[in-house]
């Protein structure tokens, strides 16, 4: 019982902080999933392409970003990108400050967003590629026979079908990304996990972590339910869908 009163006290004392942390995490999810999806479209098309000069770079991108941990990618971008840019500007910090890159390099949120977006692009491209492969060849051939060009076929026939097929996996990526926002706390961002860390370092009370665990559980449950409903809504015209 003492535990639950401590837990309730944790929410009571820190709800403002916790809410702002949750907000930052959700902003990161929305931005990185939106941008990641946009980036995934060309990558998935390139992966399914016959031209090897388009296919190989896309596949290499996919292997590197799906084969290495997001944690490493965040550090690579957060610490590595500014260092690499500085090298490019010959070690001249003043010149770098004047450059168009400075707004990006000086914002922890934007740097983390870059890493998350690249990671999401790689995973979502893989989901979309699976969707693209599920589109029956006959549909493409029929569209071709109607005189549609490559881009018109992609836009009207292939991509909508691939998207619906890939939707469950894409929704999963959104939930994985929400869980992964905890990594942003390792580069001083005050997301939900970062707020939990701050409270823990002040109080040395593990209840702080239990408290944020509760929030993660609730948000993941809400997301899962919401996405399940959306999926059913989008496939309601299909035979066999309830």
């Amino acid at each position: 019982m003492a535990f639950f009163s401590t837990l309730a006290g944790m929410y009571g004392d820190h709800w403002r902080e916790l809410l702002s942390g949750l907000w930052l995490a959700l902003a990161l999810v929305a931005a990185s999933c939106g941008l990641g999806f946009l980036a995934a479209l060309p990558v998935s098309l390139a992966c399914a392409c016959d031209n090897k000069w388009l296919r190989w770079p896309a596949q290499a991108f996919s292997v590197v970003f799906r084969g290495s941990p997001l944690y490493v990618q965040v550090f690579l971008v957060y610490f590595g990108l500014p260092a690499a840019m500085l090298e490019l500007y010959g070690g001249n910090v003043g010149a770098l400050r004047q450059s168009m890159w400075w707004p990006l390099l000086s914002s922890p949120f934007l740097l983390v967003l870059v890493a998350f977006t690249l990671n999401n692009a790689a995973y979502m491209a893989e989901d979309l590629r699976g969707g693209l492969q599920s589109v029956p060849r006959g549909l493409r051939e029929a569209a071709l026979a109607q005189g549609m060009g490559y881009w018109l076929i992609q836009r009207r026939i292939v991509l909508p079908l691939a998207f619906r097929q890939a939707l469950p996996s894409l929704f999963n990526e959104v939930i994985f990304t929400f869980k992964a926002t905890a990594i942003a706390s390792t580069v001083t961002l005050l997301d939900l996990m970062g707020v939990g860390n701050r409270i823990f370092s002040r109080t040395y009370d593990v209840t702080a972590y239990i408290a944020i665990a509760g929030i993660y559980l609730v948000v993941v449950a809400i997301m899962a339910r919401l996405f399940g409903r959306l999926e059913r809504h989008l496939s309601r015209h299909l035979p066999g869908a309830s």
Partner: protein, 222 residues
């Protein structure tokens, strides 16, 4: 790529990463199998416990689980036993990662459990086999074969999650890269090298997993 003498350190870190992943996947598979048995059991209480456990650890961020195990578990054990308990970063990492691995793998095992034709189990029962013998001789071997492809994917996810154990100070690959960076002030090289090492381990183990899958299917008609 100039590693400034830190190459051996990175390789030592990679070796610890592999050890961590192997330990967590073995322990996690065993725990996942037990969780699956709870999920398919006749008892409503056991089923609820199995699903609750798996859903909990599938919903929590991996980093948070690692921190809760590292900081919270010793306190919990101390409250229970009254003795001072310390858990090192390696043990905490293995425990946390195997909890997560078991949550996902229990779902994989459950799918495989349901993939075994009921007729086989009935035939075994008709031959006079008890539930344990059926589990050992009929179900287990087929569950292993049916779940290998998905377990392989979980292994690749686990391999990447091990990097998070760096947060509690275990000197695996990611932590070694951080240490090298703090000395050389060259983050791009060392995090890049770490990322590539993870990719290499992933690609090599993916090839190994494919060979294991092929072997597990030997004797089956294609």
């Amino acid at each position: 790529m100039d590693l400034q003498g830190f190459g051996a350190q990175l390789l030592a870190g990679a070796w610890l990463t592999i050890q961590l992943a192997v330990c967590a996947s073995l322990l996690g598979s065993a725990l996942g199998f037990a969780t699956m048995l709870a999920k398919v059991s006749g008892s409503r209480l056991l089923r609820a416990a199995g699903f609750g456990f798996a859903n909990l650890f599938r919903a929590l961020p991996e980093l948070l689980v690692i921190l809760i195990v590292y900081f919270g578990l010793p306190q919990m054990l101390m409250a229970l036993s009254g003795q001072r308990v310390e858990i090192g970063p390696f043990a905490a990492g293995v425990i946390a990662l195997s909890l997560i691995f078991s949550a996902y793998s229990s779902e994989v095992f459950r799918g495989a459990w349901r993939g075994i034709p009921a007729g086989q189990v009935e035939a075994a029962m008709a031959s006079g086999m008890g539930p344990w013998l059926i589990l050992r001789r009929i179900r287990f071997p087929q569950i292993v074969r049916l779940s290998l492809p998905s377990l392989g994917n979980l292994w690749l996810v686990l391999l990447k999650d091990t990097s998070l154990v760096a947060v509690i100070g275990l000197q695996e690959l990611m932590r070694k890269a951080q240490m090298a960076t703090s000395v050389t002030k060259d983050p791009f090289t060392f995090y890049g090298a770490a990322a590539l090492l993870y990719v290499v381990i992933s690609v090599v183990s993916a090839a190994g997993l494919q060979a294991m899958e092929r072997r597990s299917r030997r004797g089956l008609a294609a």
